[in-house]
């Protein structure tokens, strides 16, 4: 199977188990939702997979990566240099608040081309062309002009599109999206989610969508994993988890949704 396979991921920090054996499979071409309340370890799962657990954290378990081209039996066992070559190139991440996750002092063009040139060895001009294509891909209007502008000159929704463009620039095969829509207006959310879905389908991305919002989850995820207290308590197809949750906790989560069924529930995405 291509994608990301997280097995028995444990993160211990100061004697506490932040992650307590997380098992999640993130297959290519699918959006895998990771749901759960605040503090359940969703974000930590994402960061730990990328090797950026908090200082002093002890990590065990395995994260297998396979994109058909490159196989890594365990990302956690990689040396720092090798891991750095994976980051951004094979696995990328999108954060919650795009106003915080883009560097305020660098132009969009620089932020979009630096890692392209670093990872793929593109020339300045080629990277620039590719950057403009990427902005067009994520539907940022007037890409050429946008490249010369700075993060504070964009709206939140546009910034998140740009952040996604930065993340997918080197054509990674795995994308970890950590609450990518939480900081956005509801109307903008839908656009960003559609974009994520589209990229998943077109590029065969394996997306791990971290969110506390089951509404978002039900709109785009293929499979859903529910986390609580650092462990996955339920993992299955979206339809099954939301309609017939097996555990009490998942049931509670689903029941906490507003009563009108959110768009997408029950509709079959083929």
């Amino acid at each position: 199977m291509t994608g990301l396979e997280i097995r028995g991921l444990v993160l211990e920090l100061g004697g506490r188990r932040i992650l307590d054996g997380v098992d999640v499979t993130v297959p290519a071409g699918q959006v895998t939702g990771l749901a759960g309340e605040s503090g359940s370890g969703k974000t930590m799962t994402g960061l730990t997979v990328m090797g950026l657990q908090p200082a002093g954290g002890r990590v065990t378990g395995t994260v297998a990566y396979d994109d058909g081209e490159v196989q890594v039996p365990d990302l956690l066992a990689l040396r720092p240099g090798a891991l750095n070559r994976m980051r951004g190139r094979r696995i990328a991440m999108v954060f919650q608040d795009p106003t915080a996750s883009l560097q305020p002092m660098l132009s969009i063009g620089t932020q979009l081309t630096d890692h392209l040139r670093h990872h793929l060895g593109l020339s300045r001009g080629a990277a620039r062309t590719r950057a403009a294509e990427l902005l067009e891909r994520v539907r940022v209007p007037d890409p050429e002009a946008a490249l010369r502008r700075y993060p504070h000159q964009f709206s939140g929704g546009q910034l998140q599109r740009i952040a996604i463009a930065v993340a997918i620039a080197c054509e990674p095969k795995v994308l970890i999206a950590d609450e990518p829509t939480t900081a956005l207006d509801v109307t903008v959310q839908a656009g960003v989610l559609r974009l994520l879905r589209e990229l998943t389908d077109d590029l065969g991305l394996a997306v791990l969508l971290v969110t506390h919002d089951l509404g978002v989850m039900s709109a785009v995820a293929d499979t859903v994993a529910v986390m609580r207290h650092g462990a996955v308590v339920e993992h299955g197809p979206r339809y099954q988890v939301i309609r017939e949750p097996r555990t009490d906790y998942a049931k509670e989560l689903v029941e906490s949704l507003p009563h009108t069924p959110p768009p997408g529930v029950g509709e079959d995405r083929s």
Binding site: L52, N84, R87, Q103, M105, H115, Q153
Partner: protein, 291 residues
């Protein structure tokens, strides 16, 4: 590798800094001092070293617009000649301690752990002594000369920069864009240079600009003790140091003091504008509307 972004930045943005009136004012003052330093011999001033006891300690008059000192030397001539020693030394000292302190502080703050401990305990060691005493010890140990005095002052002034830099980097390194940069494959030093440093440069710049006066006076302290500029050489710091003991002759400390003041203000004006111009969030007005 690093030269490329630097060139791009200066080509695009630094000129914008000069379009601000404050920066222009600062630049004019500085340029005037540089010009004075260059043409000193042509100004028809009295010899700044010529003593004549019969005109000692005279208040400002037509013959001596800034008065004379206790050896009858013309204060105007000494102030104008003093720029030759004071300005380059101050620039050298500030630039030197800024670079050394920032690099060490940034490494300490970013890497943390043992590296942080070693660097910051070293800084504490320097802080533990009164600045001028430690500078004296170092200068005396190295032997009295201007170069050694500069070195001694570098030794005592880098920790100020290191401490501020470390605190700024500690704050900045937790920012999401720094984490995001790491996740795009930036190693620790790339991350520090690309994501952290540009975002902490503004306070460091301000700190450096405010440090000019300090450094001139510290150097004066060393010169006073015979460890820096050799006595007859006109130098602002030593002139002020001499002047403050002659309370009734106000002109002795006032005029070189004003000279130091003008340089410090000039650097501050330039620093402020430079900071605004380097930050894309405030540079927009100068760069033209980009919306």
């Amino acid at each position: 590798m690093t030269a490329v972004p630097l060139r791009r930045r200066s080509a695009l943005r630094v000129p914008a800094a000069w379009r601000r009136p404050a920066a222009l004012g600062g630049a004019v003052v500085l340029l005037a001092w540089v010009l004075v330093a260059l043409v000193d011999p042509l100004l028809g001033l009295q010899d700044p070293l010529r003593r004549s006891i019969d005109v000692a300690l005279q208040a400002p008059s037509a013959a001596h617009p800034f008065g004379t000192d206790e050896l009858g030397r013309d204060v105007l001539a000494r102030t104008l000649w003093g720029v030759r020693a004071s300005l380059p030394l101050a620039v050298l000292l500030v630039a030197g301690s800024l670079v050394v302190g920032s690099v060490l502080g940034a490494i300490a703050g970013y890497l943390g752990g043992v590296v942080d401990e070693v660097i910051m305990r070293l800084a504490d060691l320097v802080f533990a002594f009164p600045t001028i005493i430690l500078a004296m010890v170092v200068a005396a140990a190295l032997g009295p000369s201007l170069a050694n005095a500069v070195l001694a002052l570098l030794v005592v002034s880098w920790p100020n920069y290191a401490r501020v830099m470390r605190a700024l980097v500690l704050g900045a390194r937790g920012q999401e864009y720094v984490v995001a940069g790491r996740l795009l494959g930036a190693g620790p030093f790339t991350s520090l240079r690309r994501d952290v440093l540009p975002n902490v440069s503004a306070p460091m710049l301000v700190l450096a600009m405010l440090d000019f006066g300090n450094q001139i006076l510290l150097l004066a302290g060393l010169s006073f003790l015979g460890l820096g500029a050799v006595p007859p050489t006109p130098e602002w710091g030593s002139m002020v140091a001499d002047g403050v003991t002659q309370f009734s002759s106000w002109w002795l400390a006032t005029f070189p003091g004003l000279a130091i003041f003008s340089v410090v203000v000039a650097f501050n004006l330039i620093g402020d504008s430079l900071r605004d111009a380097l930050d894309p969030r405030t540079a927009g007005a100068v760069q033209g509307s980009s919306i």
